[in-house]
Symmetry: C2
Subunit: 362 residues, 2 copies
Amino acid sequence: MARIHNFNAGPAALPLAVLERAQSEMLDYRGSGMSIMEHSHRGRTYDEVHRRAIALVRELLDVGDSYEVLLLQGGASLQFAMLPMNLVHDGRSADYIITGAWSEKAYQEAQRAHRRARIAADTGVDNVFSRVPKQEELQLDPDAAYVHFTSNNTIFGTQFHEFPDTGSVPLIADMSSDFFWRPFDINRFGLVYGGAQKNIGPSGLALVIIRKDLLETARKDLPSILQYGIHSSKNSLYNTPNSFGIYMMMCALEHLSELGGLDVIERRNQGKAELLYDAIDTSDDFYRCPVDTASRSTMNVVFRLPSEDLEQRFVAKALEKGLTGLKGHRSVGGIRASIYNAVERRSVEALLGFMDDFKKTA
Amino acid sequence: MARIHNFNAGPAALPLAVLERAQSEMLDYRGSGMSIMEHSHRGRTYDEVHRRAIALVRELLDVGDSYEVLLLQGGASLQFAMLPMNLVHDGRSADYIITGAWSEKAYQEAQRAHRRARIAADTGVDNVFSRVPKQEELQLDPDAAYVHFTSNNTIFGTQFHEFPDTGSVPLIADMSSDFFWRPFDINRFGLVYGGAQKNIGPSGLALVIIRKDLLETARKDLPSILQYGIHSSKNSLYNTPNSFGIYMMMCALEHLSELGGLDVIERRNQGKAELLYDAIDTSDDFYRCPVDTASRSTMNVVFRLPSEDLEQRFVAKALEKGLTGLKGHRSVGGIRASIYNAVERRSVEALLGFMDDFKKTA
C-alpha cells in the first residue's frame, strides 16, 4: 500500500525521508555494526546523537546560553507535575490561563501538587473554547511564580498568535503542538516544554527549554528524577534516556534544517492552513469553522458539517480515499485536520479535493 | 560492516530478527500506509499493539488476574520515586536491601521522597559488593510497607538466585536486568519493575507488574502521572505512551515466545554463562571473577585481569576483533560481559576465543 495522507493529531506524520533514514540505519548505525537502539547511552556514538539533537534545538530556535535544553521522558503530562513541584515555593502561587482541556489539566495537576494554582483567565463557555484571551482579559498576579498557558490548543483548534505579556513574571508555555513550525522569540519565556510527537519526532520524548535563573531557584529537595536541576547538571543523562526517540528527533530536526529552517517551514505551514481555511470559508456554510478568526490554529484545523451524521460519513468516506486521522477529538466531535510540519501540501490538496467532492454528493 | 558482538550492559543487543521486522515495517505498518510511530495512540491499530504487548507479558511470566501490568516511561529511575510516593504512608517505613549502586540509589530516593526508608541489609565492604545477603542476614521490619531489593546487580555482577522471604510484607524487586530471561514465580511479589532496555526492548520504556491490593491502598493525592492507580485505570494510556518502544517490546516478546518461551531461553542463558564462568575459572587466575560463586550473575559476567593496564588492552583489542561493550562500569573498572537474551552463543564463543588468544599473547 502507498503511504496514506495522515492528519493525526499526535503521534502524527513523520517526514518520509526521516523514516527512510531510520529504516536504512536500523541494523547498522553508521558502520558501528549495531542499531542506535543497541548502543550504550554512555558511549561515544550515542553521545554524538544526543549532543547533535540538543545543538539542533538551539540552532533552529536560536536558544542562547541563558537557557538549558533538556530531553526528558513522560511527555507534557509529567511536566504538568514537575512545573509546580519545582517552581512553586516560598509561599507563592502560579497563574494558569485556561483555553481548553490541556491547560485545564495543567492547572488541575498544579492544584494536586500543592494547591497553589490560580486561574488568570478562562475563555470557556459551557466547556467550549472558541478563542484565546486578549491581553486585557488576563488578571495576573504580579507575585506569581509563573504564568502558564497552552500556546496551541490541539482539541479546539485555537492558537495564541501573540504571546501574553506577563512583565517580570516568568512566562511558561506548553508548546507540544506549537514548536518548530515557525520561529519565535524564546527570550520571552521562562520555560517552554512539549512532547515531540507532533512536529519533531515520535512519542515518549519531551523537550524542556528552561531559563537558567529558574533552574537555580528550583526546589532541590524533590526525588532526583523530578528535579530540573539534576537533569540539567547531567545534560539529560541522569538516567537512561529514550535514545531511539532522541535519534528520531535529531533526524527530524536535521531534515528541517536541510529544508531551510523555520522560516521556510513557516511559509509552507501558513500556506497549507490558508488553503484549508479558505476552502472552509468559501463552502457556503457546508463546512464551518467554530473558532474565532483571530484565534484560528495553523496546526489543527477544526471544522463542522451540517450534521453529526454527515460528519461520520465524511470521516468514513475520507478513509476510503486514503485520508486518515480526520475525526475530531472524542470530547468535542466534528472534524479535525492536523497539518504539522510533515504533512505535505499535496496531502492538504488531496483533502480539499475530497471536501469538494463530498459536498457535491452529500 | 557485519553486525558486531554486542556485550553492552543496557541499552543492549536486540535480536536481529526483531530489528529486521522493525526495519521492514518502518514505512508501512501492516498495510496501514504509515509507520507504527505515526499512528494515534487512541486508534485501533496501535491499541492492538498495546494490548498484545501486555498480553505477552502476562503469558510469558504467567501473570494472573490479581496483578496489573503497566507500561510507563521514565525507566527504573522514576520508579525509585513512585514506589515510596505511592506505597509508603500511614506512618510506616520501607525496608531496603543494599547490594550495589542501584539498590543504594533506590534507597536514597525513598529517603528523598519522605525520609521513611530503612536499611534491612547491606553487603557492601568499602563500597565493593561481591555477594547478595543470605536470608538469615536480613533484619526485616514486620510492619514495613514493603521490602525492596535489586534482583540482579548489573554493575557488580551479582544476582539473587533465591528471592528473600519477607512473610506477609510485600516484596518489591527492581528486575531491570533480571526479567524475561527465565521463568519466576510472580506470586512471590507485591510489585516488580524494570526498564526494558536489557532483555526485552529499547530504552525509554519501563514495565511495572503490581498486585491489585497494593493499587487499592496506594496514595491518591499525588500528581496524576505519578499514581499507579491512574495508569492502571487507563490501561497505561493515561498519557501518550512511548508507542514505538512498546511496539519493539511486543516484537521482542513475540520473538521470545516463538523461540519456545522462558524455559528455552533460560537453558540458553545458563549455557552461555557456564561457558564464560568456566573459562574464567580455568584460566589459572589470569582471569578472575571477584564475585562469590553463589552470587554470580547469569546476565552480567564481571571479571578482572592481573592489572588495569592489561584490562585496558583487553578492551581495546577486543573491539578490534568485533567484540564491544566489555569495559566494566566506570565506578568499578575491570571487564563486564553482559549476556542478555539477544546475545547469541556464538558471540560468547567468539569472546572465549578472544580471551584464550589474549591470555597467550599477553
